[in-house]
Each structure stands twice: as C-alpha cells, then as structure tokens.
C-alpha cells in the first residue's frame, strides 16, 4: 500500500525531464538542461542576463542560454553545468538561481 503511494507520488510529483541541447526540441515545459559551457560568456547575471551557449557534453549540438541569478563559483567556459528553465523561441530561458556546476573532483558538487 505504501509502495503504491510512493510510486504514484514520485512519478506524478517528481522529476523534471533532464535534457541535453540536442534533445531540447519539442519540449515546451520546464526542463533541466545539462551541457558544456562554450565561450564567449557575455552580459550580467545580476542585470539584464548572462548570455552563453551550451553544448552537448558529448556531442556538437548547441543552444543559446540566458541566465539571471546567482552564479556558482565554478562556472566558466569548459565546465559542465545543469540549469532549469524553458526553451522559448530558440533560446533557453533559465529560471533564476537554478544553475548548478558539476564538481571536477568526485566529491560534493558545488551549488548556488
């Protein structure tokens, strides 16, 4: 009985789809995007928005991203990050403050 409740609630309430730039097309709701940060990074995360492109970690597809909010210390071109948001008009608009970097060492990942 408990198990059924758990399964139901986890599937119903739980995850946001976790995607790569190459698989973004067609998803209109809130998703979680994982990718490799490419140069150049322009703009102001605490102003009009930080602009950069994300590429598939193992691939070539890229997507432009605009992000506002706290930027983790480890963020820079050449790192893998995860950010939540929506894909609108060819640009991934991030939900403020949802960027997380993957830590290079195998211990605790950094977070905003």
């Amino acid at each position: 009985m408990l198990a059924v409740f758990l399964l139901y609630s986890s599937i119903a309430g739980g995850g946001t789809p976790s995607l790569r730039p190459s698989s973004l097309a067609g998803h209109t709701g809130k998703v979680s995007l994982t990718g490799y940060v490419l140069k150049p990074v322009t703009g102001d995360a605490h102003g009009a928005g930080l602009h950069f492109r994300l590429r598939d970690v193992k691939g070539t597809a890229t997507v432009p991203v605009v992000y506002t909010g706290s930027v983790p210390d480890l963020f820079r071109p050449g790192r893998d990050i995860v950010v939540e948001g929506r894909f609108q008009n060819g640009v991934f608009v991030a939900v403020p403050g949802t960027m997380v970097t993957k830590c290079p060492s195998k211990y605790t990942p950094k977070k905003t």
Binding site: S18, D73, K111
Partner: protein, 662 residues
C-alpha cells in the same frame, strides 16, 4: 617505498582471504585453533593496512611526487595539515582509509567482545573477512594508491573547496559511521550462520551500532556546516545524492536502534531486525558506491569507470547472500509474542520504524529513479527539492510527534484514560505554544508552525520525564535534587541518554523549520555608500580591498551592519581567487546572533567593473540550533554508550562466563 605499500596491501588481501577460508572451515568443522588463526589473520590484516596507510602518509608529508596520488592531490605550498588529510582526499586514498577503519573495527570487535561467545565470533570473523577481502582487492588490483610515475616538479594541489577543517574531519567521521555498520551486520550474519539467534548478537553489537550511528550523524552535521559556510548558498542541505547517501543508512540505523529495544524486551521483531541491519549495511555500501562511481553524473561515466561495477556486484552479492541466509534460518527466528494493542510502546516503536524506513525508501527512490529512468528510457529526470521536502514533512512531522508520545506510553497496552492523564500537561503546553506562535507570526508557514508546536510538545514530555524520574528517585532514596538527577541518569543510562538524544533532534527540528520555513533573502546592486535593508538590519557597503595570501588573492568588501540605529557589526564577504588551482571560491560572511539563534548571511555575488557589487543578504532564523543540536546529540550518545557495570555483570552471568549467584 611504494613497493612496501603495495606489498602491505597484498599481504592484507591474503590475510583477508585466509580469514574467510580458514574462518568458515574452522567454524563449520568446529576446529578451535583454526578459528583462532582466522581471528589472528583479521588482526594482522589491520596491522598491514596500517603499514600501507603509513607509507602513503609519509609520502604525502614529504611531498614525494613520484606517487601518482601525491602529485594528484597535493602541491608544494599546500599547508601541512592539508597534505596529511589529503590521505582521504581522493579515490584510492579514501578506499585505503575505508579498509583501515574496517579492519580496525573488525579486529576490535572480535578482540573486545568476548561476551559474544567463541561460537558466534567464529562465524563473525569470516563475514568480516569477506568485506575486508573485497576492499583490499579493490586497492590492490583496481584503484591502487601506490601507482607511480615520473615525478613532476609540483603537484596539482587539493581542490580548494576541500581545504577547510570541516572537510578534513568529515570523511573520517563519516567512515567511522559507514564502516561501523559492518560490525552489527557481521554479527547478525554470524548469528544466522551459527544458528545462535538468541539475543547475544544484539547485545554484543548494541554499542558498536550506537557508536557508528553517532559518528554518522556527527559526520553529516559537519558536512552540512561545511556546505553552509564554504559552499555558501545560504542553505546547508541540498538533497544532493551524495548527501542522501549518508542520510539513508543513518535512518535505517535509527530504526534499528529502536526496534532492537522491542526485541530485547519482548522477543518480537527478530526477522525485522535482521532485515534492518542488512538494509543499513547495504545502504552504507550503496552510499559509498554512489559517491565514488560517477554513476550520478551519467550512466555512461559509470560504466566507463572501473570501480562502479565492482561495487554494484558486491552489493548484489551481499544483499542476495544475506537474504538467502535469512530465509534459510527463518524457523529459528519465530517469536511467540504478538502485538497486544495498537496503543502500546511496542506499537509506537513499530510506527516509528515504519516512518523511518518509509522516509529512507522514498529518499532511495528519489536517488535511484533518475539513474533507472536513464537506463531504461534513455532519458533522465531530475528529482528536485520539492519531492524530498514533501516526504520529509509527511514522515518527519509524525516522527517528531511520536518522539513525544512513545516514552509516555506503557508497554503491552495503555488505557486511553491513563494516556489522557499523562498527556494532559504536554498537550496543553503544545496548544499554548502553538497559539503563541501564531500570534508571533509563525502562521505564515503551516509546516513550520506544526513543527514548532510538535517540538514544544516533545520538549514538554522530555522535561516531564526527567522531572518525574528525579522526583521518584528523591522519594525513594531521599537524595537532594542534583544527586537524585545524577543517580537517575546513571542507573538508566540508555533511557535518559536516549531522551537527551531526542532533545537534540527536537533542537534540530526547530532549527531546520526556522531556517527553511521562515527565512528571508534580498539582493541588491550597491555602489560604495549605498545600503540594503533586510528585516531589521541595514547593510551599508563601505569599501573593497584586495590582498594577497599564501595561495590566493582575496577580495573583500567591508559592510557595516546596523540594527535600530546602532552599528552592531562589520562584515567582510568576498571571494578568493586561487591561481594555481584556477578556481574562485565564494567567501561568505556570517553573523550569528546568539540571543535569537539567527544568522545574517552575506554573499558577494558579483563584483562589477564599475565598482558596484551585487550582494545577497539572507536571514536564517534559528539556524544555529542545528549546530547546538549536534553538541547535544554527541552528549546524549555518550551517555547512552557509557558502560553500565551492573548490566555487564548480569549479561556475563547469563552467557555463562561467570557462575550464577544463588
């Protein structure tokens, strides 16, 4: 020197294998000398592991970069204390530490726990040997800390986020917890294998389980403090899978600590206890597997790495083997007693267990669902904070309430009338507190309000327990209050130590509720002289300074903090730039108010070229109660662990070491 390390590890591996083979054979054919020999092998394995650890430690201290490990995790200007603790900063070294702690615990458990009986120990030794063999196999063949290469001029340095006293203490404490759970598991398997499923195995392992549980709890709190101060996003727990990896075995161990009390007093729940100890141990293995194998970043990096599949295989082996053994010995575990009433202390322990295990399993599901989903559908999902928060509230709040109800309910059955009388005062106190809290504005968050009210209720029950106990003691022995209190606790260490631990959990609950349900945050871009207002604090940005430290460039802003017109503090949030490691770290400034327990948390998000700074200010009410809870938790655990001479004697008589007194 690396050859000595490698040799020591090979010897350790050989000894572990011998302990397995000779141990099983000696126990099975009841050859005492063989069993003793296997036991010695386990102790010798510890000494070999110690030698290997010593070799690595010396290499780290002398910065011998011919060791691949040393060059990967230290550098010349790294302070000495970090060079030493880099022993567990990387995969291979931390596996070696695990092996050392494991063999250490194993040696200590079989040497010190003579009350457990030779027959039981004879079977425990090979089980410990199996686990030791696995880990020594890993460090010998798969992930050796003694790999060498042409020594570079300087090492790569330690990840800056690990350069903190918390991160130095966190892994060894956590390992003392994780690995410590091997001992009760080994004794449980020993009990099943030997057919001696009496209470002996529980009595022998009670202290080990409690100690491991204590270390695991403290280790997690240190990790949370590290996240709070060093990672600095304003929170202390992100429901990250590596954090959950430690929480899950802790929850299972908590359930186990409670349900063994039922087995001791009533002889019930024998099968359940076996299952719990298997669960706790498997989760501890699973936890370290999650943290190491890379399976969390993606399923593909897991299969590419070498360590993951080994761990997974071992976990499957352990789970399958122990369950099979349990199934075979099921007839030995039948209990005659049944649950008499749903309103009894046994029943509340059962509810407590169900809630704890349910919470544990929902966390497990949250952690493994993304991995499974990616493996099955090719598409991964992220399970976020809302999922975990929901279940923490759904299961945690009733648990909090039960903590107050349980101790007040009698064993076997309690009539509703007597319940009404015992609960009258705490219930009234809870109501009054709840009303007061609503008046003070706590109604803004319903879960927060409920948490606070339950916490008030539980506090009242704990205080009442101590008060009633002391009063009874005074009536009995005519002692003055302080002495009555002391002798009360001394005579009932487990009960009252347990109450202290409950008090710690109450503090934890209040701190967590306060800082997560009632926090505020504001961000602003300030130029010099401008101010930011948050709650009753006014923050004025005065100055920006850059200084050079040993291995970093430190940028610090000077912020004056005013409250009610008075300047109460000057804070210096900023950033550190580490040129060698090419990393920037956020150095947050925290001001703790000792009266209210709240924290003013300042983050410099971004230093802009025109001299303005984007600041984020967060108020975390009552967050310092969490750290206070850690201290109380430690105190309570120590009281509960403290040996009781009279109980020791009684058990020794029962298990035949001493002649019974007529």
């Amino acid at each position: 020197m690396p050859e000595l390390g490698r040799a020591a590890l090979v010897v350790c591996f050989g000894l572990a294998l011998y302990a397995v083979g000779a141990g099983f054979w000696g126990a099975h054919t009841r050859r005492r000398r063989l069993a003793l020999s296997a036991q010695n092998a386990l102790v010798a394995a510890f000494l070999s592991a110690a030698v290997a650890a010593g070799v690595l430690l010396v290499a780290l201290i002398t910065s011998d970069f011919s060791f691949t490990y040393v060059s990967a995790f230290t550098s010349r200007e790294l302070p000495l204390t970090y060079k030493i603790t880099a022993l567990w900063g990387g995969q291979e070294g931390s596996l070696l530490l695990w092996l050392l702690v494991l063999t250490g615990y194993g040696a200590a458990a079989v040497l010190l726990d003579r009350k457990a009986g030779r027959e039981l120990i004879a079977w425990v030794v090979p089980v410990l040997g199996v686990v030791a063999a696995f880990f020594s196999m890993l460090v010998v063949f798969v992930a050796s800390p003694f790999a060498t290469h042409a020594a570079p001029a300087d090492g790569l340095g330690l990840n800056t986020s690990l350069q903190s006293p918390y991160m130095q203490a966190h892994p060894p404490l956590l390992y003392l917890g994780y690995v410590g759970l091997t001992v009760p598991f080994a004794f449980a398997m020993g009990a099943l294998l030997s057919g001696r499923t009496d209470e002996r195995w529980i009595v022998a392992t009670r202290r080990w389980t409690l100690a491991a549980w204590m270390f695991l709890g403290i280790g997690q709190l240190l990790g949370a403090k590290w996240a709070y101060e060093e990672v600095g996003w304003g929170g202390y727990y992100a429901w990250d899978p590596v954090e959950n990896a430690a929480l899950m075995p802790w929850l299972a161990a908590t359930a186990f600590l409670h349900s063994v009390m039922v087995q001791e007093k009533k002889g019930m729940l024998k099968v359940w206890n076996m299952l719990l100890v298997i669960l706790a141990f498997s989760l501890s293995l699973f936890g370290t597997f999650l943290t190491r194998s890379g399976v969390l970043s993606s399923i593909h990096s897991f299969t590419e790495g070498s360590i993951g599949p080994w761990f997974l295989g071992f976990i499957c082996f352990v789970v399958a083997g122990s369950l099979a053994l349990l199934f075979r010995r099921l007839p030995l575990l039948r209990s005659k007693t049944k649950l008499e009433s749903l309103v009894s202390r046994e029943a509340t322990f059962l509810y407590n267990n169900l809630l704890l295990v349910a919470l544990c399993l929902t966390i497990l599901w949250g952690v493994t669902f993304p991995i499974l989903s990616e493996a099955v559908r090719g598409e991964s999902v992220t399970v976020g904070r809302p999922y975990y928060d929901f279940f923490l509230r759904s299961f945690g709040l009733p648990l909090l309430l039960l903590m107050g109800i349980g101790p007040l309910v009698a064993w076997r059955r309690a009539s509703l009338r007597s319940l009404g009388r015992t609960f009258l005062w705490p219930f009234a106190f809870g109501l009054v507190a709840g009303g007061g809290l609503v008046a003070a504005g706590a109604g803004s968050s319903l879960p927060g309000l409920i948490a606070y009210t339950f916490a008030a209720f539980v506090t009242a029950t704990i205080v009442l327990e101590f008060a009633r106990g002391t009063a009874a003691r005074r009536a009995l022995a005519g002692e003055p209050v302080p002495r009555a209190f002391a002798s009360l606790v001394a005579r009932n260490r487990r009960r009252y130590g347990g109450y202290v631990v409950h008090a710690a959990i109450v503090l934890l609950a209040i701190g967590v509720a306060g800082s997560s349900a009632y926090d505020t945050s504001h961000t602003a871009r300030l130029a010099k002289g401008q101010s930011l207002k948050v709650r009753d604090y006014t923050l004025v940005y005065r100055d920006l300074r850059r200084t050079r430290a040993q291995n970093a460039v430190e940028t610090r802003a000077t912020i004056d903090v005013y409250r009610g017109g008075d300047r109460i503090a000057v804070m210096h949030p900023g950033k550190n730039n580490y040129p060698v490691e090419q990393q920037i770290s956020n150095e947050v400034a925290i001001r703790s108010d000792w009266l209210t327990g709240e924290d003013l948390f300042l983050i410099t998000e971004q230093v802009n070229p025109n001299g303005t700074i984007d600041f984020k200010a967060i108020i975390n009410p009552l967050v310092n109660l969490i750290w206070l809870a850690g201290v109380v938790f430690l105190l309570g655990s120590v009281v509960t662990l403290w040996p009781d001479a009279r109980e020791e004697r009684r058990l020794a008589v029962r298990y035949g070491r001493l002649a019974p007194e007529t």
